[in-house]
């Protein structure tokens, strides 16, 4: 039996999905947040069935994890499944099946492509002399336009697709979008590096030794990857501390 969820309930669940990561923990990860987002719908679906409500809340408090921006896909699909009266075990199996793909796709698209691309665009504007507040404002507007659009698309896709949402996700070609945004980020990174080399206030003004050191550091970072980031940060802080101590003694 299908129970229709009102627009108000759906809007409430979608609004709550923005807070889904609010009580992230090492035990159930997004579990509490998922149950929190489901509450408005569960209250309607199990209005006259307290034991059903209890059981539904219990299964949605269980361990769940996904990228927060794409968790709406699972939320929308589970809302649909619960409204369609699907078996609790099917709902549980569905949540287990989608958490890995939603985490991987979201991490690659958002943390691995969209955030770096928009950050680099803002940094490039800053280097070009745009006032800092304008660059920050543009960053917030553009980043969140993509963020909110992705959340809304995910929630609607889940809601319309239900347990068959995998087909809609495949058709959306999120991996292709990730590759495109990464290419854009690569172009912006090249632009930023070029400006750092030859632009106003860049390495060309600092001198050839600094430019050579920066090129070596860039190549090192590209070859070694994240493992180099922490030693490099420690080295820069140590260099600053040593130089300050030297200046103090002199």
């Amino acid at each position: 039996m299908t129970i229709a969820l009102s627009r108000r309930v759906l809007v409430s669940a979608f609004a709550r999905s923005f807070l889904i990561q609010g009580s992230w923990n090492y035990k159930t990860m997004l579990g509490s947040g998922f149950a929190f987002a489901m509450l408005p719908a569960l209250r309607v679906l199990f209005r006259e069935d307290p034991s059903g409500m209890d059981a539904a809340l219990r299964r949605h408090l269980e361990h769940f994890n996904a990228h927060p921006y794409l968790s709406g896909v699972a939320l929308g699909a589970v809302l649909r499944m619960e409204a369609d009266g699907e078996a609790p075990e099917d709902v549980r199996r569905f949540k287990t099946a989608v958490r890995g793909p939603l985490g991987g796709l979201g991490d690659a698209l958002v943390w691995g492509a969209w955030l770096p691309a928009v950050s680099l665009a803002a940094l490039t504007l800053l280097w070009l002399g745009v006032p800092a507040w304008v660059a920050v404002l543009l960053f917030l507007l553009v980043y969140n336009a993509g963020h909110v659009a992705l959340r809304a698309w995910g929630f609607m896709t889940g809601l319309t697709g239900g347990r068959g949402v995998g087909r809609s996700l495949g058709a959306a070609a999120l991996s292709l979008w990730t590759a495109r945004v990464r290419s854009l980020a690569g172009l912006l990174l090249g632009l930023f590096c070029g400006m750092a080399l030859a632009g106003r206030g860049g390495l060309a003004e600092a001198g050839p030794i600094w430019a050579a050191l920066a090129c070596a550091a860039f190549v090192g970072g590209n070859l070694v990857g994240h493992r180099l980031w922490r030693p490099a940060a420690v080295a820069v802080v140590a260099a600053v501390a040593l130089l300050a101590a030297w200046g103090w003694a002199a």
């Binding site: 770096p116 690569g186 750092a196 970072g221």
Partner: protein, 115 residues
Amino acid sequence: MGGFTVSALRRLNGRLAPEPDGPRPERVSAVHMGAIALDGLRGALLTLIGVLGGRWVMGILAQSWPLGPSDTRGLLLVGGAVSAGVLLRSLGGYRRLRIVFVAGVALALVGARFL
């Protein structure tokens, strides 16, 4: 400090999380909103400590800093270059992105020369 406090908050959230054995909707909402409030407080305190601590450190450094502006910028850009290299690798690496990356560098060099 950010990493340490967020780990501590997540451990606390785990202890306060409603047990799936006997949950009440009110408790789910209260714990969730409480965790968000604590995270907000954490962010505000860290920002305050960062701003005050940063000002204090900058005051000390400024008194004894031996490098001129261009060498200081060079030092910071060397540190930043590591992050830029790491970012290029995480975006797919030079081999995969060389065309767009080199196009970006070329565009910047042309812009710096003629603009």
